[in-house]
Symmetry: C2
Subunit: 168 residues, 2 copies
């Protein structure tokens, strides 16, 4: 059995990918939809709960970018910074849901504004971390991210998503 | 903030898809890799913890196949049985990991044999549930599943994965 943690402020789901495409702006009249794309890297779906504070973010970024879940060509696992690889951050408030009967309830989720603020800062901190890392900067890997509040239309190609859940 | 549950015996991650391809047998010499494929439906990644017992499975199946997370063409959400849609079950023991520093630990995971037994029964119960549902039988939707213990090479096409976590 797994022990539950007492208070969860944020939830991150990690998947490894070869490529991922995420729609960041839906089609609108004559304007085509806009997409971002990453190559080999890490997809981070993130959700914030009520009570999450910005002081939590540096710890989240540090953990998620340094955890050794990215597979190298010889089968070893290293951090995404060491791979080095792209990062795609997807806002996924649905991860905060709790099942009740046939429905999900999102009572514990952060409010929309707070969630946007935390999400934006989280993205920004990840961007800074990759930019400050010489291996990443040399390799030209980057952070892409979804538009908060939109439908996160995602296409994912993996060599095994190696899905992990990390709570903060 | 979200309250942690006291004892988690199983963890399921749900994503909605338009199409999904999952490798069930890797290439071997001259033999090409084998894949299963689903059309519009529900992807269930599943992990069992130590202490999970088969008595838990009917409840899991009932919850996961009846929770209203599948989007109809007019934007409503219904269960996968009511959509009706395909189901792809992916064994994902990595979901049981707990972060410690830069590594994940899987101490709470079920043993390999117990996990295989529970996984196999879970798949079988889901297959039975779809076969017994007249709407599903008429529509010809089906359950596909990954090979326990293999690398779960997955390609996923979504209109938004609408990712949810349900623990048992």
């Amino acid at each position: 059995m797994a022990d539950g943690s007492s208070t969860v402020h944020a939830r991150a789901l990690l998947q490894q990918c070869l490529h991922a495409h995420l729609q960041v702006r839906p089609a609108d009249g004559d304007a085509a939809a806009q997409w971002v794309e990453i190559q080999r890297g890490l997809v981070i779906y993130v959700c914030f709960f009520k009570g999450a504070e910005k002081e939590l973010l540096p710890k989240m970024v540090n953990t998620l970018l340094n955890v050794k879940l990215s597979e190298t060509e010889n089968g070893k696992h290293v951090s995404i910074l060491d791979l080095p690889g792209d990062v795609l951050i997807i806002p996924q408030a649905t991860l905060g849901g709790r099942v009740k009967g046939k429905n999900m309830q999102y009572h514990a989720n952060s409010g929309k504004e707070e969630g946007l603020e935390l999400y934006s800062q989280f993205v920004s901190l990840c961007e800074k971390a990759l930019a400050a890392n010489s291996k990443c900067a040399e390799a030209g890997v980057a952070v892409a991210h979804g538009t908060y509040g939109n439908r996160q239309v995602l296409k994912l190609d993996t060599n095994g998503p190696y899905t992990h859940l990390i709570e903060f």
